[in-house]
Assembly symmetry: C2
């Protein structure tokens, strides 16, 4: 049988067992499993890795637990500005959006940019105009309202005034909230996608690595599919996702060696906290992170799999 596999993440950071209640933990595990199963079912039926990645990320975007889609954090204006990107390893096509508001599923908008525009990357109001033309689903602000996120934002405004760095804890939660998925389908094609609500109280239209092809997301049938979560600025400067692909293609590293080199060595040296999920062309899965925890799950057609939070 042709191997196939999928991996997802729901963000990395200071996720400590000591700060987790059994109820909260159970909710996260169930949400990760639901998204994983949604994506795996697509692959099992012979669907494309692109469809599996989109389906898994929609499931995570629709869950208020994760900082993407419905669960997106508040920016400094009390709005929800989202970023997302998707890439197909079969033909290296890609789509991405940044700073979009009121889009129910930014990952689907990214895919529409990829498949139905002549562009790769659309920003802000322009991306929303394109979304309306394409019949992409919108939701009003109340859909994105969450009391916990709102309290986080209020505290961020109080603590930091005008500017909250993501390294500074807002309430008890210090994490890089982003969701992502990578998959290999039965036809041997890889795909990767990433979606995020960005930083709580973010200002200045800050763009992280999530919508950047090569930084937060990359897929190439010759090497691997990657989705990142972490300190976006350092991930951009390190071109993290494409770096792993290059280490495999040009230096002959295995997926594991390349992930170790980038996440546990290069990023650690510059203080680049976070992690990523990775699948190679034969279905190997790696889920490396250098932070305390990363919400993550994977399932392979050989029967292996898991849903994990801590180290």
């Amino acid at each position: 049988m042709t191997p196939f596999s999928i991996a997802i993440h729901g963000g990395a950071g200071t996720i400590l067992r000591s700060q987790m209640t059994p109820e909260k933990e159970a909710k996260y595990l169930a949400a990760l499993k639901a998204a994983l199963d949604t994506g795996y079912a697509v692959l099992e039926k012979g669907g494309s890795s692109l469809d599996a990645v989109e389906a898994a990320i929609i499931s995570l975007e629709d869950c208020p637990l994760f900082n993407a889609g419905k669960g997106s954090v508040f920016n400094s204006e009390g709005r929800h500005e989202m970023d997302a990107s998707i890439m197909y390893g079969k033909d290296l096509t890609a789509g991405a959006v940044t700073g979009v508001k009121n889009i129910k599923n930014p990952i689907s908008l990214s895919r529409a940019v990829m498949e139905r525009s002549q562009h790769v990357f659309l920003a802000g109001n322009g991306a929303e105009i394109f979304a309306r033309e394409q019949g992409i689903a919108f939701e009003d602000d109340s859909y994105f309202f969450d009391q916990f996120r709102h309290d986080q934002w209020q505290q961020a405004q109080k603590e930091e005034g005008v500017f909250l760095d993501h390294n500074i804890a807002a309430s008890d939660e210090k994490k890089f909230g982003t969701v992502g998925a990578v998959a290999l389908d039965k036809d041997g094609h890889l795909a990767a996608g990433t979606s995020t609500g960005g930083m709580t109280n973010k200002k200045f239209g800050r763009v992280g690595d999530s919508p950047i092809i090569g930084a937060g997301t990359y897929a190439n049938d010759n090497t691997c599919a990657i989705s990142c979560t972490g300190h976006g600025e350092l991930f951009i400067r390190s071109v993290v996702a494409y770096d792993i692909s290059c280490l495999m293609e040009y230096k002959g590293m295995t997926l594991r060696e390349a992930c170790d080199e980038v996440v546990m060595n290069k990023l650690v040296k510059i203080g680049g906290e976070g992690g990523l999920i990775a699948i190679d062309r034969i279905g190997n899965v790696e889920l490396p992170f250098n932070s305390e925890g990363m919400y993550r799950a994977y399932r392979k057609s050989d029967g292996n799999g898991g849903v994990l939070i801590y180290k």
Copy 2:
């Protein structure tokens, strides 16, 4: 003496000798030479590659001949939306902006993002708010008005209605207007920067490769400094600038071999028209392009140099 060098570009595309008047050609050559000399003078006095790159790009942004800064094309709303990025090879710091309006020198705003924010990449209104806080120079719309660009835009609107692809000629000019500079200073540090007004009549907040670290701009003291100009979507998907760095670092290619592989082979295969300027850590300069022409110039401390337009 420690070698130092600088290279600049003013965009690539269908630039044919047959369509050029001697007067127009002389203007372009003079503007390129002025920008080159400005950057070279910084290096000669022992200034940093970062200062040289910024100074050369400011000179190009202030010249109405090039599609960046003052000479930026009109978007579909009749406005000028600009992108820019800069990266310093010494410490891999970087700054970038996309979709900014009324900024006199977007390259200087990119540098302010790099040096005075905690972020790498700021977009749209948010980037402009940051710019005002930092005392960055603004100009009103009339500063960016140019009759030739305006006529181009009118024709683009007439020809294409709602959407002009950059592959379709607007009047007699089919080119990827972008400016950039790369430099190696006497201390052995590399820097790269890119600035653009984007596509004539562009819609949907389209973002090209120019502000994307790894795609349009990259600098690393261990390998090279790169600034690209071309079909942005394909340059993003190919992560062009970082690909050259990886081919050198991981595969042991020379700067020339890496440039040939990416610009004359990989990009050509996918129809990725354009070019780039490149300098390595010992001051070698490459100016490869696969289009008809590229406005370009370079000068090395060993006395070599040139100001060129055609193949």
